[in-house]
Point group: C2
Amino acid sequence: MFKINDNYLKLPGSYLFSTIAKKVNQFTVENPDKKVIRLGIGDVTQPLAPAIIDTLHHAVDEMAKAETFHGYAPDLGYEFLRTAIRDNDYAARGCDIQADEIFVSDGAKSDSSNIQEIFSLDNKIAVCDPVYPVYVDSNVMAGRTGTYDPATECWSNVIYMPCTAENNFAPEFPEKDPDLIYLCFPNNPTGAMITKDQLQAWIDYANKIGAIIIYDAAYEAYISEENVPHTIYECEGARTCAIELKSFSKNAGFTGTRLGYTVIPKDIKSNGVMLHSLWARRHGTKYNGAPYIIQRAGEAVYSEAGKAQLKEQVAYYMNNAKVIMEGLKNAGYEVYGGVNAPYIWLKTPNQMTSWEFFDYLLEKANVVGTPGSGFGPSGEGYFRLTAFGNYENTVEAVERIVRL
Amino acid sequence: MFKINDNYLKLPGSYLFSTIAKKVNQFTVENPDKKVIRLGIGDVTQPLAPAIIDTLHHAVDEMAKAETFHGYAPDLGYEFLRTAIRDNDYAARGCDIQADEIFVSDGAKSDSSNIQEIFSLDNKIAVCDPVYPVYVDSNVMAGRTGTYDPATECWSNVIYMPCTAENNFAPEFPEKDPDLIYLCFPNNPTGAMITKDQLQAWIDYANKIGAIIIYDAAYEAYISEENVPHTIYECEGARTCAIELKSFSKNAGFTGTRLGYTVIPKDIKSNGVMLHSLWARRHGTKYNGAPYIIQRAGEAVYSEAGKAQLKEQVAYYMNNAKVIMEGLKNAGYEVYGGVNAPYIWLKTPNQMTSWEFFDYLLEKANVVGTPGSGFGPSGEGYFRLTAFGNYENTVEAVERIVRL
C-alpha cells in the first residue's frame, strides 16, 4: 500500500503567493467595478527588451530548419551562455569563476528549492527572518525542519536570524552553528543590502564552522550604492563555501520566460567529493536543460544593446521605487529598502498585523501588497510593496494609499 | 559542518547518456575524418513544424508589448494549454480527465524524476528491466533503493520485472507487492507495447494491492496498431491508481524546446489526502511554470495544422524505423520494437555484451547506439537504435551495419 510523503502535510496552509492570488481573485469577483493595482507578487510588467525579442525571433527561425535545429541541450547549459555569464557577471568583476562552474536552469525558484537535495537530511539550515518562503518550504518537504509550532510560527529544527529595523535588517551570526545558511542580498522581502565587509564576515564565519552559504543574488541588478557586493565571489574565500543563485527574472523581465543559473565552485568539497559533481549529477538525471531559444535570449541579455536596454528597464522600476518611498514617507509611513532593491518594506500603521493591513489596503485602496508575516514571524507588522508595476499604476497606488 | 546527500555516492558511474556522449566525443576527437551517425540518444532531428514556428513568433511578439506581455504563469500551466490537452488527449478518447488534473511542466524527464518526492521514503518501487534510467536513479538519490550489488547490477530494495524476448517484453506481476510501479508503453527502450487487456490487468492489480502506477506515455504518438491503449485512462479504475506522464519531445520534436505534463486524477487518495494536492503544492513551491511562449507552442501542437504536420513527422520517423527493422532483419539480426515505437531493440550478435557491441559499432561502422545493459541487467545482450535520425543517415547507418 503506497504512502505519501508526510512532510508535505506539515506545511501550514498554502504557498504565500497562492493565498494572495486567491484572496485577490475573490475580491475582484465580488467587486468587478474596482480597479485593483497589484504591487504584491514580484512579477514584472515591462515587456522584453528589443534586443531579446530580436534574438528570440532569430532562434525560433533556427528551430524551423533541420540544419540549425537544436534538440537536447548540453546537461549544464549551452557554452555560449555560460561563457557570457562568466565574462560579464564574474570575470568583469575580477571574480574567478569558470564557465563549467555555472549551471544554467529554468530559474532561481527551482534552483533555490532543489539545491537542498544534494545535502544530508541531517543538516541544519539557518534562514533570515523574514525570508523568501521557498527556502524553508523546500526543506520542510525534504523533512529537514522538525516540527512546526503555530504559536511561534517557527520550525523546531530551523535557525531563524531575525532581520528587523532594530538591526538594520542585517542578520547576525546565530548562537548555534548551522550547516546551510541561506542569504539573499539585495534582500527579498526587506529590500536591505549589506556591505562587502559584512558579507566577508559571513564567508569567514562559514569557512570557520564548515557551513555552506546559499547566496541568492536575484536582485543584483538593482544595486545602486558603492561598496556593496554584486556577487559573493567578490569576497575572499567564497570559493570554498558559497553557492550563488542568479535569476534573469528581475534584471531582464524573464518571470514568464524562465531562466536562471547556479554557481558551484569546484573548491567546495566534503571528504574529497565536490558539491559540483553532485549538482552536475542532479542536473544530468533530473533535468533536461532550459529551452534553446530561451538560452539564446539569455545570451542577448549580455549583448551591448541588451545591456543598454535593460539598464533603462531597471531605472524605470527604480523610479517607481522612489515614487513609493517618497510618497509613503511624506504620508508618515516608516519605509525601508527601495535603494538597492525593487522592494519597499514598510511598517504597518496603527499596530495593524500584516494581514490586517493587506485586507485594509485591498478593500480601501484596491492595492495588493504582500503581508510581511508571510515571510516569517519577524515580518509581522511589516508589509512589502514592489516597484515592478508600471509607472502610472504605481503613482495611482501611492496616491490611493496616501489618501487613506 | 555540512554533509552531503550520501545517496548520490551510491550511484554507479555516470548517467548513461552522459557516458555515451563522452565516449563519442573521444572517438570523434581521435577520428576527425570519420562521419559518426548517432542513433543512440532519443533526440529528434526534424525541425519544429511550421504551425509551431508561426505560433512561437506570434508569442514572442506578444512578449514585446506591455499590453500582451506575460509574467509568471499560473502555477499549474495556462488554461488554454490544459484545455487543449484535455480535449485532444483525453475527452476525444472518451477519458474522464479534467483540465485541472493536468499539470504542465518542462518535460517528462523532470516529472518522472520529481514525482517520487510526494511519496514516502518507505515505499518500494517496481520497475521493468530494462528501463529508462531516470526512474531508478531518482529513487536512488532520494534513498529509497537500498544498496547496489555490482555483481547483479541490482538495488536491494527495488523490484525488477524482467522484460525479455522470452516474455515478449511484457512485465509480469512481481512476487512481492510494490507500492509504486513504473510502466512505460510504448516502451523505452524495447519498443514493445501491451494490449488494453494487459494494461487493464495492471490497473486491477494496482487497485487490489493499493499501489500507484506511474505510467510514462511519452511515445504514445507512435502507436500504429489497434487495441493498444493511447492513455492509461482508457482502462477502468485508472482514476484511483494511475499517474500519467506525457512529453512533447517525441510527438512534436520538443527535446530542445521543453514541455510536458503530468496527470493526477483527484480520485487518488491516501487517508483522505489527494495526491493531486501534494503535486500541486510541489509545483507551487518548487517550480515556476513553463515559459509562456513554449506553452503557446504546445497549444499549436493541437491545432488542425499542427496535428496534420506532426502526423507527417511521426510517419517520417516511423519510415526510418521500418528501414532499420527490415535492413537488420535481412542481415540476420534478431530485432524487436519499431512498430508502435521509434525504438528498435536488437539482440547483439555473437554473444557480444551490450557495451562490446557499442564499441564495435562505433569503431567499425561509426554508428552510435545505446547499450541495452545501460537500461538494466536484463538489457544485457541487447542494443537500442532510434528512428529519430534523418532518413539519409538512417539508410547509411543501416548499410554500414549490414556490411559489417
